[in-house]
């Protein structure tokens, strides 16, 4: 095993790590860089609580080697709030009570954000549901989450709305 | 015919009720009463549980009633 130099951007901040190549992206973020908002909940890429955005795409941080994102832009839940202002998805989650224990919330919000970036106007709530199918939530039954994403899609949180 | 639990003295409305109480309590003194009568608490309990009807309760109830009449 030879350690690898990894340089990437996390929430617009340049980071450099010299790490064992088997380190998973979620481990690099949590254990090496302290972004513990991203969680882990399984070993089978099933639960989605480790979801982060890599170059704007939602991926599961437990299924990507950290060295594979060399040079890329990572966004974690900590990077969504800008200038003390919540991202519309975060605001909508608050307003709709779209979280309970909160353990899935970071990953869920990242999936929701990535989904809305790609699909600003989902055709129906089923499309929203498919957008978050990779994220398990044991508390809410998803419906409040769907309502929150729907509210953002419908423009409730648009600047000046 | 009301009668008393031979172990703790609790008043019960009839022999079957009294037997149910004894099985249901099932603590050491109540279990010991069964053994003292030469009965197996657990065998009777499970025959009551797994066989239709109320056979074990009736059997034990009769025994208690007889003892108290005598």
């Amino acid at each position: 095993m030879e350690k690898q130099l990894l340089r990437f951007y996390v929430n617009d901040q340049e980071c450099e790590l010299f790490i064992n190549p088997k380190t998973l992206l979620v481990e690099a973020l949590r254990d090496h860089l302290g972004f513990v908002g991203t969680k882990r909940g399984c070993d089978t890429a099933s639960c989605g609580v480790c979801t982060v955005m890599v170059n704007g795409m939602a991926v599961k941080g437990c299924s990507v080697l950290a060295v594979q994102v060399n040079g890329m832009n990572i966004t974690t839940v900590e990077g969504l709030e800008k200038d003390g202002k919540l991202d519309p998805v975060q605001a909508a989650f608050l307003d709709e009570g779209a979280y309970q224990c909160g353990f899935c919330t970071s990953g869920m919000i990242m999936s929701a954000r990535a989904f809305l970036n790609e699909t600003p106007a989902p055709k129906d709530t089923m499309e929203i549901r498919r957008g978050i199918e990779g994220n398990l939530c044991r508390c809410t039954g998803y419906n409040s989450i769907v309502r929150a994403i729907d509210a953002v899609a419908k423009g409730k949180y648009r600047e000046g709305a | 015919m009301s009668l008393k639990c031979p172990v703790c003295g609790k008043l019960k409305k009839d022999p079957v009720d009294c037997a149910r109480h004894m099985f249901g309590t099932g603590d050491k003194p109540h279990k010991a009463w069964f053994e003292a009568q030469g009965l197996s608490y657990i065998d009777l309990l499970l025959s009551q549980a797994t066989e239709p009807g109320n056979k074990a309760y009736i059997e034990v109830g009769e025994l208690i009633a007889k003892a108290q009449q005598g």
Binding site: M1, D43, V59, S63, L65, Q68, E133 | -
Partner: protein, 290 residues
Amino acid sequence: MIHDFTYLRPGNVKEALAMLAQHRDDAKIICGGQSLLIIMRQGLVVTEYLVDIKGLDELNCLIYDSRAGLKIGATTTHRTIEKSLLVKEKYPVLVAMEEKLASIQVRNWGTIGGNLAHADAAGDPAPVLIALNATVTIASSAGGRSVPLEEFYPGLFETVLSPDELVTEVLVPPPPAHTATAYQKFNLLESDQGIVAVAVSLSVSDAGICQDARIVLGNAAPIPIRAKNTEKLLIGNKLNEEIFTKAGETAGEEADPVADIHASEDYRRHLIAVLTRRMTKEAWEQACQV
């Protein structure tokens, strides 16, 4: 717990092939790693070298040519296929299949080459691509070859790849006229792996006769299998409800499923019969329209 390995990142295909040639059995290839990392974590795969081809952009492509058909580079992600207007127009079944493959996160990072090389009998793309008569292009430092996907899997979790070989692309021939392909998996949850899956591709002659049929059963045997008896039943006939039912029954008989906690062998046969009937009908009705 993933065992330690030495990480190799080739800059191009040639370098990748050289690394494989050098390390042979001591090396494994990672692309999206959506399946590989899970089994590495379980300790089922231990490797000295891990060759990462995820970044090989020369294999990240979707090209359609009306004569050659569709070329999908091995590092093309599922999501790219799913979102491709080209694919949607020419092979709508591929898009439909991709939309229900695992989750968006997995489709964003996972690649078609990685999926096919993982050789999971419950994988979605293989049955559909076999029904579409796809071939895989394989490269090694010694040269290259092309293998029909149907012959790519000798056994459970096995491929015909030798240690120095790499899947570089999947070639899907242009769809013949009056042909339609339908795919469905049976699962308890929307995007779950299929308990069984059936892909049916039918071609109809101008006279309204079934000219060609390719029926592929997924998770119905250790590898995706063609239901050849069922195909024979269809070819040369004008299809109707009776034949659809018979096709289902035949497919159920020629499947070779095993029981697991999700379904007994009998139930799997039953599901294959139902899905084959339904997909044959669907493909037939579509093929008659195009």
